[in-house]
């Protein structure tokens, strides 16, 4: 399949290799193989594949990997710019999605989600 890659060099993903203890948890949760392990530490291999979901940062016990998590959804950005609650859902990554319509936007865990 054609590989879909979004914009170059935009994501807020950062890694402090000195803090990394090589537990590998971040590799497990990442849905896009952004990080790889070499010599007992992770490094960022495919930066542009990162979708800033925040799973790696939340699961890193030493805060070695950090990211400003959010949902990459234009409708959500427009809605929050207009200062209204999102009415359109953009959480459709899961196969059984479609359940988030009309749910109030939550600011938990710093996400600017739309559903």
């Amino acid at each position: 399949m054609e590989k879909l890659i979004y914009l170059r060099d935009v994501v807020t993903l950062a890694l402090d290799r000195k803090k990394c203890i090589g537990c590998g948890l971040c590799l497990v949760v990442c849905p896009h193989e952004v990080l790889i392990m070499n010599n007992g530490h992770v490094s960022i291999e495919n930066r542009d594949l990162c979708m800033e979901c925040g799973a790696c940062a939340l699961n890193c016990p030493t805060e070695a990997v950090t990211v400003r998590a959010g949902v990459g959804c234009a409708a959500a950005v427009i809605n929050s710019a207009l200062g209204r609650n999102a009415s359109s859902c953009c959480c459709v990554i899961e196969p059984d999605a479609g359940a988030c319509n009309g749910v109030r936007e939550a600011k938990i865990s710093g996400r600017t989600g739309c559903c």
């Binding site: 879909l4 699961n59 196969p95």
Partner: protein, 353 residues
């Protein structure tokens, strides 16, 4: 301590545990389950498509059976049990207000605290002898595995992204292949999302299309009906093809369209659409008004297509918020400018020349 109700329609009996009767469920979906899924997909009462959170027994689990965690959106729950025919397992359902795992994880409702709360309230430590929980990988943005371990003593093991991979994951000794961990965005997955995008847009089209039809009839030297049936109809066809370009064709042809920004891909599809439309109107370039009219559509169609394509970022499985913001910074002003300029030109072609 509380256990989910036994009176829910999909529950078949119960399994006795130290904590009381745990509702038993089967991996076979019945007609009511399927009908519910169809209704949920089409948005009929889907805000209430929930089940009671808590511990369930898939068939006849014992203290050694695996524990799988999911959201209380009925469709997530059904997908999970359906993937496990002939297996015994415990299913711990978190209260996400009927929202699927990925969305709920992003909002934090499928989160560390909620999980720990349910481990305790279901008395899981008394029901199983092991200390392992299998969570869907896509709950990662909400659940910090190491914190769950610290707070509850349970190890969180991230399972595959898709429930259908669970049997092989379980048989491999809780090991996922790299393919199971990768979120794809195949042509099939993209196509399935098209109707959702389209429905929202077509609602607007129902209001706007008649206006253009009417305006098409008002201006120009010919009578109302001749104008409406010529220029008004062209406007309706042009607008609908712009919607098709941005909300249908761009998602489907996504990997093959140029650029990385969705607006660029939509723009390309919009230009192709405008060219095709022009080819059908080749006879109308003789007068100035006809030429301005075509020019107007060359601005409006790509502008609409780019805008709708940009909105598809929300449905995609790989766009980041930083990227979307960067894209919008240049795309939105351009889309508005091109759309407005096109509209003025079109009105000019009908009323001025």
């Amino acid at each position: 301590m509380s256990l989910p109700g036994l009176d829910q329609p999909f529950v078949k009996g119960s399994v006795q545990t130290r904590m009381g009767p745990v509702p038993r469920i089967s991996s076979t979906l019945v007609r009511a389950d399927r009908w519910g899924s169809i209704k949920a997909r089409w948005g009929v009462g889907r805000m209430r498509y929930t089940i009671e959170p808590g511990l369930y027994a898939l068939e006849n689990p014992d203290e050694k059976s695996p524990v799988l965690v999911t959201a209380n959106y009925k469709m997530s729950f059904d997908r999970l049990r359906e993937a496990l025919p002939g297996r015994n397992a415990w299913i711990l359902v978190l209260d996400t207000n009927g929202i699927n795992v990925w969305c709920a994880a992003g909002k934090g409702t499928f989160g560390t605290e909620e999980l720990v709360r349910h481990i305790e309230s279901s008395g899981l430590e008394h029901t199983v002898a092991h200390r392992k929980l299998i969570l869907p990988q896509l709950s990662g943005p909400g659940v910090a595995a190491f914190k769950v371990k610290k707070l509850s003593g349970f190890d969180v093991i991230y399972g595959p992204i898709e429930a259908k991979d669970l049997p092989s994951f379980l048989d491999a000794g809780l090991k996922a292949t790299p393919e199971m961990r990768r979120k794809t965005f195949t042509i099939k997955e993209r196509t399935v999302l098209v109707p959702v995008e389209l429905v929202g847009t077509l609602k607007w089209a129902l209001i706007i299309l008649p206006v253009f039809f009417f305006l098409g009839g008002l201006g120009g030297p010919a009578g109302f009906w001749s104008g409406a049936l010529n220029h008004g109809l062209l406007a309706m066809v042009a607008l609908l093809s712009a919607v098709a370009a941005g909300a249908v064709l761009t998602p489907i042809f996504l990997p093959w369209l140029p650029g990385r920004a969705f607006s660029l891909k939509g723009l390309a599809m919009g230009l192709i659409t405008a060219i095709i439309l022009t080819a059908f109107r080749a006879g109308n370039f003789s007068d100035l008004a006809g030429r301005i009219e075509i020019l107007a559509w060359f601005l409006i169609i790509p502008a609409i297509a780019a805008y709708l394509a940009m909105n598809f970022t929300g449905a995609s499985t790989y766009t980041s918020l930083s990227g979307v913001k960067k894209e919008m910074k240049w795309a939105v002003p351009l889309e508005i400018a091109a759309g407005t300029a096109g509209l003025l030109l079109w009105l000019g072609s009908r009323f001025v020349t």
